[in-house]
């Protein structure tokens, strides 16, 4: 079911109602022991991931355009596993917009998540608002309330009110999103409840990268340097990403020490670029990394560029199909080898 009422607010209410209904049924039928979703944030421009265990709590689940955390994060290491007292794995329902479901599917392929223990509660996402951009543009004024109406985002403060065009103020990655609902293929019919899309591959012209790609290498280097210069190495981006589940991240290793931990620009760039390489073929473009960054660094250029390279080389998009082996996990004899130096 695709909801397109042209009226974001009405869409949100419909989505929220359906989602709660699905959640209630899952808990009542004991198909899941716990549901991970979003609750109303206690601070403007935020939402809070919650863990629901009783039907009575289902009405705490919300959907608005500020649900930016990728909830798949909570079912992978190194966060605490959901087990009961007899150490039996709990069955978990996860409120999933398209990208969250794609994360779960890709993680299942990487054997980090057992599809038997997961129920993807699909919702047809209508976008996540770019909270960092709004904060930066309003700067000295505190936003106390954000609401959407028709196709506008309305921000209110103590003594101001402003209307912003909805499509414009979405997260950058949401603007190029092609998979708004969880992708469904035959083997996943058991897993997904609620809304989903039949999709096994996407078309993408990557038009948003044209500007960056047209620049000379040293210009590109300047762009990247400028982008990452105020990184504080808090690792919120890494911690929020469901694909970053290594028990010991490469930056934390000390036998040997691969890279520096300092906040020198060279160390910062190395961290982000190497992490991006680890994301190649795995990033689903959820934008969590950029939404959680306290300094508002938007990593979309780096992630989108890698997504494009993987699409061109391997015709692969992460998290669409449980049947397809991700290119970074396999080697085929006809894999492109144009990086090899030939005997010309």
């Amino acid at each position: 079911m695709v909801i397109n009422m042209g009226n974001i607010q009405a869409e949100n209410e419909e989505i929220q109602k359906n989602m709660r209904e699905v959640a209630r049924n899952l808990l009542n039928d004991k198909k899941v022991d716990m549901i991970i979703g979003y609750a109303q944030g206690t601070v403007p421009l935020s939402s809070s991931p919650i863990f629901i265990r009783n039907v009575e709590e289902v009405d705490n689940l919300i959907w608005d355009n500020l649900c930016y955390v990728n909830l798949a994060r909570y079912v992978v290491p190194p966060l605490t596993e959901f087990v009961d007292n007899e150490k039996v794995n709990l069955k978990v329902g996860i409120v999933s917009r398209g990208c969250v479901a794609r994360s779960l599917i890709h993680l299942a392929k990487e054997k980090q998540v057992n599809t038997e223990n997961i129920k993807i509660i699909g919702i047809p996402c209508n976008g996540v608002v770019n909270r960092r951009r709004i904060e930066k543009e309003l700067g000295e004024k505190e936003v106390l309330e954000l609401s959407v109406s028709n196709d506008k985002v309305i921000v209110k403060g103590k003594d101001f009110e402003k209307e912003l065009p909805y499509q414009d103020y979405l997260n950058e990655l949401c603007k190029t999103c092609k998979v708004k609902s969880p992708p469904m293929s035959s083997s996943l019919s058991d897993v997904i409840v609620g809304d989903s899309l039949e999709v096994t591959s996407v078309e993408d012209d990557f038009a948003d990268l044209v500007n960056f790609e047209s620049q000379a290498p040293d210009e590109k280097w300047k762009v990247i340097k400028e982008l990452l210069s105020d990184c504080t190495r808090c690792y919120a981006c890494r911690q929020a990403c469901p694909m970053c589940y290594c028990n010991l991240c490469f930056v934390d290793q000390n036998k040997p020490i691969w890279f520096g931990k300092t906040s020198d620009i060279s160390d910062i760039i190395v961290f982000h670029l190497v992490r991006a390489m680890h994301m190649a073929g795995r990033c689903v473009g959820c934008g969590s990394c950029s939404s959680v960054c306290p300094m508002g660094i938007d990593l979309k250029i780096i992630n989108r560029k890698l997504e494009k390279i993987v699409k061109e080389r391997f015709d692969f998009t992460a998290g669409l199909d449980l049947e397809v082996m991700p290119p970074m996990m396999t080697q085929k004899m006809d894999d492109s080898e144009d990086f090899m130096l030939g005997e010309h």
Binding site: G41, T42, V43, P44, S46, S47, S48, P49, I50, F51, V69, R73, Y74, P78, L79, T80, N85, R132, E135, K136, E137, G139, E140, K141, E142, L144, K158, S229, D230, T232, R233, C234, Y235, A236, R238, Q239, A240, L248, D252, G260, K261, T262, S263, D264, S291, V292, P294, M295, G296
Partner: protein, 361 residues
């Protein structure tokens, strides 16, 4: 320390350039400025960059005197001999201009901490000694500010921790000399005109108005007493459930001081330095021992450690709560893990005797 009361002055907003020019000659002049949309404190070379039209800076001003990366000493190698060179720049004079009262108080906290015990952190203390703090009152506190709830008589216009205090009257600032150091500076800037009664009165009104706007009130009177016997309370599992274990709350906290120490080597030139870097108890390697044992193995222990550190250990060791009420952790936590909610939950616990402690799974 306050000998004779000096009359307040007026600093017109278009005089800030002159203000900076006169002082930057002798001092490293730090002030808030907008960098890629974020307000941060930077050393100002061009006074047009100064922007006091802000609620509070993203990164706390502790980074001026306790930077993210700081050299402890440098060294040179000559065969088997090593020569160590300590810091030589600690005598430089600094001005921190336009800092909010909560952040100004954080410097008190930091100074107290680094001065505590047998070993004094000379690097921070020397820099602090050479620093003049010029505060700016908050006319419009954020919804997440709670300086008035804390034990240090916090107030959006608190003047106790600064050398000079400014109040934004609209087109100009009222300049209040507080300490002797502050008065000495004002003396040097003889071109500052004197303030009149009306202006002084307006500042008082703005101060009262600001206080009434603080919407977050926390009851912290009994929190320290409730925390100690409830170390193993299941509440810690609840409040840490959605934590993702990043370092945002601690890196952006004005009072967090934990650091890591690493040696950086320039082996081609036979020299190097030992640096300290901000570290956080929220990372899992923070307390990981070489044997593999980790006393704080899960996020429950780590989240608990942060709250206890500020609201239980600090009061026990230094007789003060280790929080200034700036609200950054509340505002910037990526998963909206709200300290105010945690405090409220803690206050709801009735004191349990030690025998009734419940172990967290």
């Amino acid at each position: 320390m306050v000998s004779n009361k000096m009359k307040e002055r007026i600093l017109e907003k278009d005089q800030i350039k002159q203000f900076h020019e006169d002082l930057a000659r002798y001092y490293n002049f730090y002030a808030p400025t907008k960098v890629k949309g974020n307000f941060v404190f930077k050393k100002i070379t061009n006074p047009d960059d100064i922007d006091l039209n802000y609620l509070n800076s993203k990164t706390p001003p502790k980074e001026i005197l306790f930077p993210r990366m700081e050299t402890l000493f440098t060294y040179k190698m000559d065969g088997k001999e090593i020569e160590i060179e300590p810091r030589t720049d600690l005598e430089e004079k600094n001005i921190i201009f336009g800092i909010r009262p909560c952040d100004a108080y954080s410097f008190n906290l930091l100074e107290n901490f680094f001065n505590f015990g047998e070993f004094k952190d000379d690097i921070f203390l020397k820099k602090k000694e050479n620093t003049i703090i010029m505060g700016l009152g908050c006319n419009s506190p954020r919804s997440t500010c709670f300086c008035t709830s804390l034990d240090y008589n916090g107030h959006p216009h608190r003047k106790d921790d600064v050398d000079i205090f400014l109040t934004d009257l609209g087109e100009k600032y009222l300049v209040n000399p507080i300490s002797d150091k502050g008065k000495a500076i004002i003396d040097k800037l003889a071109w500052l005109s004197e303030a009149n009664e009306k202006e002084v009165q307006k500042a008082v009104e703005l101060s009262d108005e600001a206080e009434s706007q603080i919407s977050t009130e926390l009851d912290l009177e009994n929190t320290a007493d409730i925390l100690d016997p409830n170390f193993n309370h299941p509440l810690w599992g609840e409040v840490s459930e959605n934590c993702i274990g990043c370092g945002t709350c601690t890196f952006l906290c004005p009072t967090c001081t934990c650091f890591d120490v690493v040696d950086e080597v320039d082996q081609y030139n036979d020299k190097g330095k030992r640096v300290r870097l901000w570290d956080t108890c929220q990372f899992c390697q923070y307390s990981l021992e070489t044997s593999g044992h980790n006393p704080r193995n899960s996020k429950i222990e780590r989240c608990r450690n942060r709250v206890l550190h500020k609201f239980s250990y600090y009061p026990k060791n230094y007789n003060m709560i280790g929080c200034v009420g700036c609200g950054r952790c509340i505002q910037l936590c990526p998963v909206n893990n709200d300290l105010r909610e945690i405090i409220k939950k803690i206050n709801l616990i009735k004191n349990k005797s030690k025998k009734e402690e419940v172990t967290v799974a």
